[in-house]
């Protein structure tokens, strides 16, 4: 699903943020990306979302070479994935429904289709009935779930999440993580950047560890996988 082939990323005037990174996230796989702040997690996700371009190397998503995608085609690549942000990135002047509907409106779906899909998506994250509320009236956990509903409403085959539980208490974090597991079970590939090592170590998923731009670990938590 995601394949890094000797990827390096260097910002002007600094040393490599990522250096010679190679890895492959398979279709339908769920994995965590960990490391201290500054280890390169954000850069890693930004490369996949085409917010940054690699300085060297090749990057493939679903077989498509992202290093060759021209600027004007970038939006269409982004529509293939769902992205979840730590700070939710919701539009606070629009209702929950309108926020979740945004990816569908952007892609030009028909109105009836939009209503059906938004409801299904909100149902999945347990927010059905809050369509007409504004995000500001919701709790942090609920806002994050609106963000998740927006990321999955167009049924992407890849979900990217940047510290999705960063601001949530443990109970809420587990709840959110449960949602990701659900999506993964229906075949969505999921990549989650997180520094919540305690939770990650208790889940049976692949963990990629970044340190100063290098991939220093790629495996499963002890005792979670044969």
């Amino acid at each position: 699903m995601i394949r890094f082939d000797n990827i390096s990323k260097r910002y002007p005037g600094t040393q490599d943020a990522l250096s010679q990174l190679s890895f492959h996230l398979h279709k339908g796989e769920m994995a965590f990306l960990t490391g201290h702040s500054g280890a390169g997690k954000s850069t890693f996700l930004k490369l996949i979302a085409l917010l940054e371009r690699p300085s060297r190397g090749q990057l493939f998503i679903d077989g498509q070479n992202l290093t060759r995608v021209p600027r004007r085609k970038i939006p269409y690549v982004r529509r293939q994935m769902g992205i979840i942000f730590q700070d939710h990135r919701l539009l606070f002047d629009r209702t929950v429904f309108d926020n979740v509907a945004l990816p569908l409106i952007i892609s030009g779906y028909a109105r009836q289709d939009i209503e059906r899909r938004v409801r299904a998506s909100l149902d999945m994250v347990g927010l059905l009935g809050k369509e007409t509320q504004f995000p500001i009236t919701l709790s942090g956990g609920e806002q994050q779930r609106v963000g998740i509903a927006r990321a999955i409403v167009h049924k992407p085959s890849l979900l990217l999440a940047d510290e999705p539980t960063g601001n949530l208490d443990p109970a809420l974090s587990w709840e959110i993580m449960g949602l990701f597991e659900q999506f993964n079970q229906v075949g969505v590939s999921v990549l989650i950047a997180s520094h919540d090592l305690d939770m990650i170590s208790r889940l049976p998923y692949r963990v990629l560890k970044l340190k100063q731009g290098h991939l220093v670990g790629d495996g499963y938590p002890r005792g979670t996988r044969p």
């Binding site: 679903d62 004007r72 982004r78 293939q80 990135r89 030009g108």
Partner: protein, 332 residues
């Protein structure tokens, strides 16, 4: 999967992805119009939700459009009113020195019979001298002359059609052939001057119109720039989740169109109100000149031009602003 294979699959894959999801979407011309209709109504809704700010911008545009429109209407009316006044054209027939008053009056009578002459008025040499003395400032010089050097003059008002200027020429040659006549002079000087002035003013109005048109562009451009700044977060988020530049551009272009439309309508209201306010005094003024000319409201063509021009300027202004500012907002 081998990288080369993935690389070759790239573009085809993308096309397939885009095509695959299109089934559920708006398709064809109808879908396109539905999309644009809902887009335009949405942006109208946003404008209506902040009525004061919208009205202010529209008012500035309206005034900027009303000024050249009003001047144009004024000029147009003056030109048409001037066209009605071909009675103002005079022909002066300077008679030969030996033609006395009786012959002159007889000639005047004969001329009155002609169809192409409205009126004839005789000025005797004595009257002419008196008038000249009092008006020219040469009074003393003239007094020292032993004889009156001025000829008798017949002042005619020809019936001229403004659309047939050569008829005036024919009339003039006919008049000059009369045995009593020394010289025939068509006196349209002041009318010519009026039209020359109107031409100059027309050019001035055009310059004012261009300047104010540029002003409208700047006003709309700046308003749209602020709107873009205000919705910066929204633009970033929509770009992050895959909005194309065309999608992001669209509501701002509709803002421009709406501003232009409102400005144009406001300009029409301003100009027509001014005309209504002016109608009565103008009727009184033209009445003093023996004309029953009345100021008319804007006709359909000019109204359409004002509104169309407003919309065009609004669209162009927002296009420029969007082109300059939108590309600078990229998610990081």
């Amino acid at each position: 999967m081998r990288p080369e294979k993935g690389a070759r699959q790239g573009p085809g894959r993308e096309r397939q992805n885009i095509g695959a999801s299109r089934g559920a979407r708006h398709s064809g011309l109808r879908g396109y119009f539905t999309l644009h209709l809902s887009m335009s109504i949405q942006s109208l809704g946003r404008l209506v939700r902040s009525p004061f700010a919208t009205l202010m911008t529209a008012a500035v545009i309206g005034i900027a459009l009303a000024l050249p429109t009003g001047l144009h209407v004024l000029l147009d009316n003056l030109q048409r009113a001037g066209g009605d006044w071909d009675g103002a054209a005079q022909v002066s027939l300077f008679l030969k020195p030996h033609v006395d008053e009786d012959r002159a009056l007889a000639l005047a009578d004969r001329l009155r019979q002609r169809g192409d002459i409205l009126s004839v008025h005789y000025i005797s040499p004595d009257q002419a001298l008196e008038e000249f003395q009092s008006q020219s400032g040469f009074g003393e010089v003239l007094e020292s002359l032993s004889q009156n050097p001025l000829p008798g003059v017949l002042v005619l008002q020809p019936r001229l059609a403004t659309d047939k200027p050569d008829r005036a020429e024919i009339l003039m040659t006919n008049l000059e052939r009369l045995p009593e006549v020394e010289l025939a002079q068509l006196d349209m000087q002041w009318l010519k001057r009026l039209f020359a002035i109107l031409d100059t003013v027309e050019r001035g109005v055009m310059i004012v119109a261009i300047l104010l048109g540029v002003a409208v562009l700047l006003i709309v451009g700046n308003t749209i720039r602020l709107a873009i700044e205000n919705r910066r977060d929204e633009i970033l988020i929509t770009k992050l989740i895959g909005a194309t530049n065309a999608f992001i551009r669209r509501p701002f272009l509709y803002y421009g169109i709406w501003y232009g439309l409102f400005g144009g309508l406001l300009a029409l209201i301003l100009v027509d109100t001014s005309i209504i306010l002016l109608q009565e005094p103008v009727a009184r003024l033209t009445g003093l000149y023996g004309s029953n000319y009345r100021l008319g409201l804007l006709d359909l063509e000019l109204s359409a031009t004002v509104i169309g021009g407003g919309i065009l300027l609004g669209l162009l202004g927002s296009w420029i602003a969007v082109g300059r500012h939108l590309s600078r907002i990229e998610p990081r």
